[in-house]
Each structure stands twice: as C-alpha cells, then as structure tokens.
Symmetry: C2
Subunit: 95 residues, 2 copies
C-alpha cells in the first residue's frame, strides 16, 4: 500500500479500528449513504455497511478511498451468488 | 497500534485485505469455527465472520490476535442492543 500507487488499481482493503473508524481503499463508487447504512461498490463487489451515527469523514473517488466514522454493526458483501443468504439468519435475529 | 503495546489492552482492530486475508486484534476468545463461520469474542462484543473456505492461519490468545484466510462474505457484531448473546435471542422471543 504505497502512497504513490494508483488508486483504482489498488487492492481493496478494509481497516476497522475499535469498531468505529472505518477506512476503505479500492472503492469504486458510493452508491448511497445515510446515518445507518452505506452502500459502496468496491473492487471486490458491493459492500453494505450498517451501524449507527455513521458519517462520511473522507471521500476520494480518484484514489478509491472512503473513511467512515460511527458505531459499526455489520459489514456485508453482497454477491450475486449468495446475496440473499447473507441477509439470512443473523441479519434477521440480530438486527 | 504500536508493535510493542500489550496484547489484551490493545484496541480491537480488524484489517481485511482483498476480502480474503483477515487480521484481528483485541480478540478475547475463539468461541467456535468451521470453514464457513467463525465466532469470536472481541473487546467490542461478539463478532461473527462468515464466508467460504475459511481457515485459521494464526492464533495468539495471549496477544489477542487471530488471522483468518478465505473468502469473506460478512462480518457481523452480535451484541448490538442486547448485552449478551443469549439475552439477545431471549429478548427477541418476548418482544
């Protein structure tokens, strides 16, 4: 992860500190966001981030970087193959 | 996150690279795991990690570190509104 590397070809990485500071690279697009859910398109598929009091702290589309702050509850990759499954048991029980 | 800091008092951090290499700190205990789901107790609550072909690559309970490799589908903190896991299920039944 060199500072000089090209943003969009960089690997998708997700760093979550203390469940409240989330830094992402390899983000193609922010599809939508509000204080409880972010939907991002990443190099590795769509990523839904849910929590409370979520705020976008930084966005650099050119570099593919997004920083989010708040209380993170869950991070779910939404694949075509098992998009439904990922919202299954745990999503329902613990929502 | 200094290399020299003490393990169990370290902040809970989660680093996911390319959706397949997951490194965690601040892990108190591995409750259970198989190739599709890991259940960890972290400093910030229980964390369910689901995916495919999951393998434990490294475990250092003393330092509170766990490394997992595989295809990650979702990361869900389970203690959202209920203190304990069992309470959560119980609470849901009588809501």
């Amino acid at each position: 992860m060199q500072p000089g590397s090209t943003g969009k070809n960089r690997d998708h990485q997700l760093v979550l500190g203390s469940r409240k500071n989330l830094d992402l690279t390899g983000v193609k697009q922010v599809e939508s966001f509000d204080s409880e859910e972010f939907l991002l398109e990443t190099d590795m598929g769509f990523l839904s981030i849910r929590g409370h009091n979520l705020q976008m702290k930084n966005l650099d589309v050119e570099e593919g970087k997004v920083s989010i702050q708040g209380r993170i509850d869950d991070l779910v990759y939404l694949d075509q193959h098992h998009g439904e499954k990922s919202k299954g048991l745990f999503g329902k029980l613990f929502k």
